[in-house]
């Protein structure tokens, strides 16, 4: 089992980054929708937003590390039989998801910190407010946070449909290699 990517598949680190980001993003999406509807007397009324903010910061750090790892590793080539437009669409969706994730995190950070308050990450670490001010900027940030998250959920749907199509219709290894790390010392292709 390789830690690093090769031209034919993903290493363990890239795979873990992918699924950790997926679980975190999905958890943040669901918890965000759920917690904003909580009753004032719900035991989670304060705890859920605390955790949501904390995990949001964790996702930000994870995405940063993931991009660094990505830059230091070869990108596996598309599976044989994948058409050019499919590959282009996949790349566009991948980068759109990265962009949206960062934009959503930035908006969420702003809506919590424009009053000058810090974000407490699990009561361990404090992320300071970098920008405070602007009249009711939190309203704009909140609307962006919400609608970009909806857009991202749509893209995740497309991304998932694509993966399922490759697996069940095209019967190629696109999905499998996102689960099973490439073998170490694989003989070079070409």
């Amino acid at each position: 089992m390789a830690l690093r990517n090769t031209r034919s598949g993903f290493g363990l680190v890239a795979i873990l980054f992918h699924w950790l980001a997926a679980v975190l993003a999905a958890g943040l999406f669901v918890s965000g929708l759920w917690m904003t509807g909580l009753d004032y007397y719900d035991p989670w009324y304060n705890r859920a937003p605390d955790l949501h903010r904390s995990f949001g910061v964790v996702l930000f750090v994870l995405l940063g590390l993931r991009l660094i790892w990505r830059a230091l590793n070869p990108a596996p080539a598309p599976e044989p039989g994948i058409r050019r437009w499919e590959h282009v669409a996949a790349v566009v969706v991948h980068w759109a998801m990265y962009l949206l994730l960062f934009a959503i995190i930035a908006a969420g950070y702003l809506l919590s910190t424009v009053d000058g308050r810090s974000i407490e990450v699990f009561d361990l670490l404090s992320v300071p407010s970098l920008y405070s001010g602007g009249d009711n900027l939190e309203d704009l940030a909140g609307a962006i946070h919400y609608w970009l998250a909806m857009l991202l959920a749509g893209l995740v749907g497309l991304h998932t449909l694509g993966a399922l199509k490759h697996h069940f219709r095209d019967r190629n290894r696109t999905l499998v290699r996102m689960v099973r790390p490439v073998r170490r010392r694989e003989p070079r292709q070409s």
């Binding site: 004032y40 809506l111 009053d115 308050r117 939190e138 309203d139």
Partner: protein, 193 residues
């Protein structure tokens, strides 16, 4: 002396008194930098949360010869609510509380003003908040009036009134201690005429 006579004959009809007094009421506009609309709500009975509205404007007239001939109106931009917590402010603006997209303005228009001496007075009027108009009574204290250092003339009041949120249809459950909201108003007007 003249003031005293008029004050003691306040039972006379307004038009009659105005006729005697002759002088026009003084016109004032609120100085936003020296006017404050603050509110206080109990947090579960443990502490008091203080907030304010940042944007509002208003004007009043004051008739020194016949104070009951004075009037005031204030319009508040409800979205300017500020409790020094961006997330809480967003919540206060949404449908659970002020619903500012539906009701962007709150408005107070006086219906009567009565002085009791020593600067104390009672101001009655209609408050429109959250789309609901209700009569309210504000206890007022006139703090002072006179020339400012920059050639203007100012007059200032403070007032308090306690509102029942549910009277205005704002009934999100924050516990019974938080059903009442105390408003503290501190306003300074700059004379316009």
């Amino acid at each position: 002396m003249r003031k005293l006579i008029i004050a003691t004959t306040s039972a006379l009809s307004l038009s009659l008194v105005a006729g005697i007094a002759q002088a026009e009421p003084e016109q004032y506009e609120l100085d936003p930098r020296h006017s404050f609309i603050e509110f206080r709500v109990s947090h579960l009975g443990f502490a008091t949360m203080v907030g304010q509205f940042n944007d509002f404007d208003g004007e009043f007239t004051y008739d020194p010869d016949n104070p009951s001939n004075s009037e005031v109106s204030v319009t508040i931009d409800t979205a300017s609510i500020d409790t020094d917590d961006s997330e809480r402010d967003r919540h206060l603006r949404n449908e659970d509380f002020l619903n500012v997209s539906e009701y962007p303005e709150a408005r107070f228009v006086s219906t009567s003003f009565e002085e009791h001496g020593d600067g104390e007075a009672t101001l009655e009027g209609e408050l429109t908040l959250h789309g609901t108009t209700r009569p309210i009574t504000i206890d007022v204290n006139q703090l002072g009036a006179g020339e400012d250092p920059w050639g203007g003339y100012r007059r200032g009041f403070e007032g308090t009134v306690t509102l029942d949120r549910s009277d205005f249809g704002i009934d999100y459950d924050l516990g019974e201690e938080a059903e009442e909201v105390e408003l503290y108003l501190s306003v300074e007007g700059v004379r316009q005429d």
